[in-house]
Symmetry: C2
């Protein structure tokens, strides 16, 4: 029997996956209710303000998930090149089983809603910033200057988002694998 916490979590999990894969507009509340197996009433109970509120919470949910995953990968090995590569490979491997994808970043939702909903845009900006900072901190720990580390964080985030977009469109993980191969060229200490 699902507890109240489980029920909210289940709705968010389903909503996050559908928003990321199909986008904001193509995802209806009825589909979220159906695929999460939750009663209609609980969606409106937990998210009384409807779809925009649910999307904001779904971005927060995905963002936390990606943050923990990123931190885990950054802590798994001392070398920042290897840590970043293993995160990208893990993201790429999700494309082997597209029906199980649950940790792809929020790029589609972000681009689709950035001109339409200011609160959604802001939460996407914050999520991107958090991921970039996690990568930047790993580089700073390894002797990179702040300025250079934050630039690389943004760059690597842009590459991953673009690589996910191409991998989804091409239905093939090669773009993400190519990006992973490139990381050693980018992360080189000067001097």
């Amino acid at each position: 029997m699902a507890s109240k916490v489980d029920s909210r979590e289940k709705i968010l999990q389903t909503a996050s996956r559908l928003f990321q894969l199909q986008g904001y507009h193509a995802t209806g509340l009825n589909q979220i209710i159906k695929e999460s197996g939750s009663p209609k009433g609980s969606l409106y109970h937990y998210f009384p303000n409807g779809k925009e509120e649910l999307a904001i919470e779904a971005v927060k949910y995905t963002s936390h998930y990606i943050e923990s995953k990123l931190k885990e990968f950054m802590n798994s090995v001392a070398d920042p090149v290897k840590a970043i590569q293993s995160f990208i490979l893990d993201t790429a491997n999700q494309f082997d089983h597209p029906e199980k994808i649950e940790g792809i970043p929020v790029g589609l939702l972000a681009s689709e809603t950035s001109l339409l909903s200011e609160p959604l845009r802001e939460i996407c900006v914050q999520s991107f910033k958090k991921w970039e900072d996690i990568i930047a901190n790993k580089l700073i720990e390894n002797g990179f200057k702040d300025n250079e580390a934050y630039k690389l964080g943004m760059l690597i985030n842009a590459m991953i988002e673009g690589g996910i977009m191409l991998s989804i469109t091409n239905q093939d993980k090669t773009p993400l694998l190519t990006i992973s191969e490139t990381i050693p060229k980018l992360i080189t200490k000067k001097g």
Copy 2:
């Protein structure tokens, strides 16, 4: 007085811009009719099969536009690093006047529709491939091996798409500028 060719072109121009900025689902045929200043009848005359057909033609239209622009930049200077950087800077500068954006690639439309419409997905895949090949050919002309050149073409396309996505979301062209700065690190001949 608009000729028949102008009228079809105007509809495609407007549709391309709206699909790229707002996405497929958020863009309605009525908005395209209104913003293009075309009579309703001419949209249905030129695109009798409706929105999906119009979106496919809009992707082709954008794709040709980007192809000519890319070729122009690749031919403008011998050094491939400078040529690619000037294309990225030109894309970035569009974000100074978002209301005038007309040449951003098809990433949003591609990610939003890749799971929903196979014909749309295929035309996006073909467009990406054409742009990647133009970049790759510039590198091959400059002595890069085919394999390395095609990898770099895909990588640079992924970076540009990701950079556009972040620049749209952040409402700031810094991600694209950072990508441009990185190009010299990526394009280095071996040996």
